[in-house]
């Protein structure tokens, strides 16, 4: 069993690492060289148009879920309506080219790419609409003073003061260093998640996995729990999910791929550091119910 465990563990890591690297470099580029002002200028001012455009900004700005919380906080502070900022936060870690590529590579024979992208768009817009209608005042969300440990787990953003002009080499070195930082933060969750997935694959009986994985409710609930607990970055989670593709129904794998980037342990802790606990609880409930209902519907219909 140990040989199988090691083989599966390492295979997921080897498969996912290229996409994690692409993700950290893309994220670092954005964090170093793209300001929140630019992002807020692109978001339309019109009330409902912004809810439809904000989820698609990940195509231009592929920010991972590790960095998105602070970006969103700053967007709200700069006057972006909370509904648009939250919609942005939910969708951007999923609807972006890096995640699309990794999802397609991990599921070459199931249209998971479409399930994931369309599902993320629907849920992000739906939750954005609820927030637009009921919770659209920044004072309902933001903590006055963010908690240092949770909010600033890693350096993420351009500082507000104008940096002095740097040479191309200095910028390149800074980019590479930032990417290395991000890799250590994100990579550890990939490694831990891969190990758990490998352990399940090699130790748990197939009958048990199939009995859980073929039921609509049980499979979706288990996959959502797994996604929440594993906290794997969205560039790599598709490879962990695909390792369950023989035993779990596609709807449950979609739930894993939607729920994880939208919320997980790591993300919840960061949210609590920057946002009020009551808002975080509501946000968590909205995401959980939305993902479960959408994927349950998918399980029934497909």
């Amino acid at each position: 069993m140990l040989n199988n465990l090691i083989t599966i563990f390492l295979s997921i890591i080897i498969e996912a690492l290229p996409f994690v690297l692409i993700g950290v470099f893309a994220s670092s580029l954005i964090h170093l060289f793209i300001s929140e002002e630019l992002i807020s200028r692109i978001i339309p001012k019109q009330r409902f148009a912004r809810l439809l455009i904000a989820p698609l900004l990940g195509i231009l700005f592929p920010i991972c879920e590790c960095g998105i919380v602070l970006v969103v906080r700053r967007l709200i502070q700069k006057g972006v309506p909370p509904s648009a900022a939250i919609t942005f936060m939910l969708a951007v870690p999923i609807i972006n080219p890096v995640v699309a590529a990794s999802t397609h590579m991990a599921f070459p024979h199931i249209p998971m790419l479409y399930y994931r992208m369309i599902g993320a768009f629907i849920i992000a817009v739906l939750i954005g609409l609820i927030i637009e209608l009921f919770f659209n005042r920044p004072d309902q969300y933001l903590r006055e003073t963010p908690q240092h440990d949770d909010c600033c787990d890693r350096h993420l953003l351009q500082i507000e003061t104008k940096p002095k002009k740097k040479s191309y080499l200095q910028n390149a070195m800074e980019l590479i260093t930032h990417a290395g930082d991000d890799l250590f933060v994100m990579g550890k969750y990939l490694i831990m998640g891969s190990f758990l997935a490998a352990l399940i694959q090699s130790a748990v009986s197939r009958e048990l996995l199939v009995s859980i994985g073929q039921g609509e409710t049980s499979s979706i609930a288990v996959m959502m729990l797994l996604a929440y607990g594993l906290s794997i970055c969205s560039e790599a989670d598709a490879f962990v999910a695909s390792s369950f593709s023989l035993t779990f129904i596609p709807a449950s794998l979609t739930a894993f791929l939607l729920y994880g980037p939208m919320t997980d342990i790591k993300n919840t802790l960061m949210m609590l550091g920057c946002f009020k606990a009551k808002f975080v609880a509501i946000w968590l409930a909205l995401i959980t119910v939305s993902v479960f209902l959408l994927t349950y519907l998918m399980a029934i219909l497909l």
Partner: protein, 267 residues
């Protein structure tokens, strides 16, 4: 994370060098075949190169005049700088744990790879219809049988299996030579001489491997065990199984063999 001490920069650089060396080695020796589909091989090579770049950057920091790299965290993220001892201690522990997590795969990587054990087949399940995979891959769907003889290799193994399960009449009487492992799925009602001659089929990586194979009947008094690799030679007959007509290979000659260096089928 940050600022980084010289020791930490050295640790980080070593980790990146480790991953780079490991991936380059797997690529050069063909070891990647035990882990991932061939379409990921070039990506692994690029990853190894980028890891090398990350390692060299960290090393440049180690040898630079400045004593540490200072991150934006230090410069004023969230407007607070906390230098309490408890915070520093907690941060140090978190960093140490992170580095340990990164080192574990490298330690496992020292072990020469050998691929998945056939004994894992029971957890993987048997897939007998992979036609949808072939349609997606755009593979040709005909077996090239020469003088009623077919030597099975990694390129036509699944085609043969699909034919034996789905269109056995076309293969009746054909002589087959094939290499695979013996497997008796617990949910199949097989006699002591009946086995699936199996191979692992990979679509992305070892994690999603499933078993592909076909029915064989070993000769009475055979001495191989389940999960042994065997090279067989036999003839296809039509057999009834659970109300269906399927093709099975009556084994005339067999030999227990070592696992091949390319044990997986890639689709």
């Amino acid at each position: 994370m940050g600022p980084y001490s010289k020791t930490e920069q050295l640790v980080r650089s070593s980790i990146f060098f480790g991953y780079s060396y490991w991936l380059f080695l797997l690529y050069a020796t063909g070891g990647l075949n035990y882990f991932v589909h061939t379409r990921f091989h070039n990506l692994a090579l690029v990853t190894a190169s980028v890891m090398l770049l990350l390692a060299l950057t960290q090393l440049a920091g180690f040898f630079s005049v400045n004593t540490a790299l200072v991150s934006a965290h230090e410069a004023g993220c969230c407007g607070q700088i906390n230098d309490k001892t408890s915070h520093k201690g907690r941060q140090a522990a978190k960093k140490a744990l992170t580095y340990l997590v990164f080192i574990i795969p490298l330690l496992f990587g020292i072990i020469p790879p050998s691929g998945l054990d056939p004994a894992l087949a029971e957890k993987k399940g048997l897939e007998v219809d992979i036609g949808y995979l072939q349609e997606t891959a755009g593979e040709a769907r005909t077996l090239e049988i020469d003088n009623n003889f077919l030597e099975v290799d990694n390129h036509n193994y699944t085609l043969l299996a699909e034919g034996l399960w789905g269109n056995p009449h076309d293969l009746e009487g054909v002589e087959i030579k094939a290499l695979g492992f013996l497997y008796q799925p617990s949910w199949y009602d097989l006699s002591a001489e009946q086995f699936i001659l199996g191979r692992y089929l990979i679509t992305c990586c070892a994690a999603d491997a499933l078993v592909n194979g076909f029915l064989i009947v070993m000769p009475v008094g055979y001495t191989a065990n389940e999960f042994d690799w065997v090279q067989i030679k036999g003839t296809v007959i039509l057999a009834g199984y659970q109300g269906e007509v399927v093709g099975a290979v009556i084994v005339e000659v067999y030999e227990v063999a070592d696992p091949p260096s390319d044990p997986y089928l890639f689709y």
